[in-house]
């Protein structure tokens, strides 16, 4: 099991955008299972003083997908972990295909991401994944393409 402290040595994401809590299992180059607990204390539920109260506590779907993507990054970079984008490569989403949201998720739910590595060619990694809550699929991703780039490429771009 990889806890939060060790996750910080593997990926550059930090609070409040570190959206993976634990890695439960990994088969390097093949698959990974990671969890994230959805909590009402997360920054997406903050409301400025005087703002209208939230009328829904559904977890934002972009955050759920970002959480799955971070679990994918942990697997994609397992053999060359990169906790700092200044010294290593920047992980960027290049493309997505076939992303289906099957159910809504709410505070108290535990997301379990089941990530499968399809191919890895140079700095491009193709991943698939399913997220479950209590064994029920809530999100399916057929294809997520990750590209690793040097930060220096963007400083001049």
């Amino acid at each position: 099991m990889i806890d939060t402290l060790e996750l910080l040595t593997r990926i550059p994401h930090r609070h409040p955008i570190l959206l993976v809590d634990r890695v439960l299992a990994v088969q390097p180059g093949v698959s990974l299972t990671a969890t994230k607990v959805v909590s009402v204390t997360e920054f997406c539920y903050r409301q400025p003083v005087g703002a209208a109260p939230l009328t829904s506590y559904r977890y934002p779907r972009p955050l759920m997908l970002e959480s799955l993507a971070q679990a994918a990054v942990v697997l994609a970079t397992w053999d060359r972990p990169n906790p700092d984008v200044h010294s290593g490569k920047l992980q960027l989403a290049a493309s997505l295909r076939g992303v289906r949201h099957l159910r809504s998720v709410y505070p108290g739910d535990v997301l379990e991401h089941h990530i499968t590595l399809h191919t890895m060619v140079g700095d491009t990694v193709v991943i698939g994944g399913v997220t479950t809550v209590g064994g029920t699929p809530v999100l399916e991703v057929d294809q997520f393409v990750l590209a690793m780039r040097d930060v220096a490429d963007f400083a001049t771009a």
């Binding site: 409040p16 972009p62 920047l90 493309s95 930060v151």
Partner: protein, 131 residues
Amino acid sequence: VSRPSPVTVPVTLIRADAGSAVGQVLLAVDDPAFAGHYPGFPVLPGVFGLEYVGQTLQAAVPDRPVVLREIVSAKFRRPIRPGDTLTVELTITAHSVAATGEESDLAVRARLSTEGGAAADLRLIYAPEES
């Protein structure tokens, strides 16, 4: 309707008609979306572009609450950085649900751009909000 959001500054709807909409937002340097992604090199997480697409769509169809059902495809062309003005251009068409044949979904083609040029292209399906 007030929904939880991963971003602080909402999109402003610039214009909308029956089949299209344009939204715009100046990305705040202090938005929590950038704080941890990444320290010292803030980049909008690619999938957060979805949030701005959803906000633009919802502003264009205010009487019809929708939720993202599917990303058919998405291509992220360049990083979106704090201080950028993000423009979201949508083409919206009715889409039938495979199971029922009802045209209750919306198919959305979204083009995201900044001052620097095209940032992302997405093909999305939105469903009526669960009641």
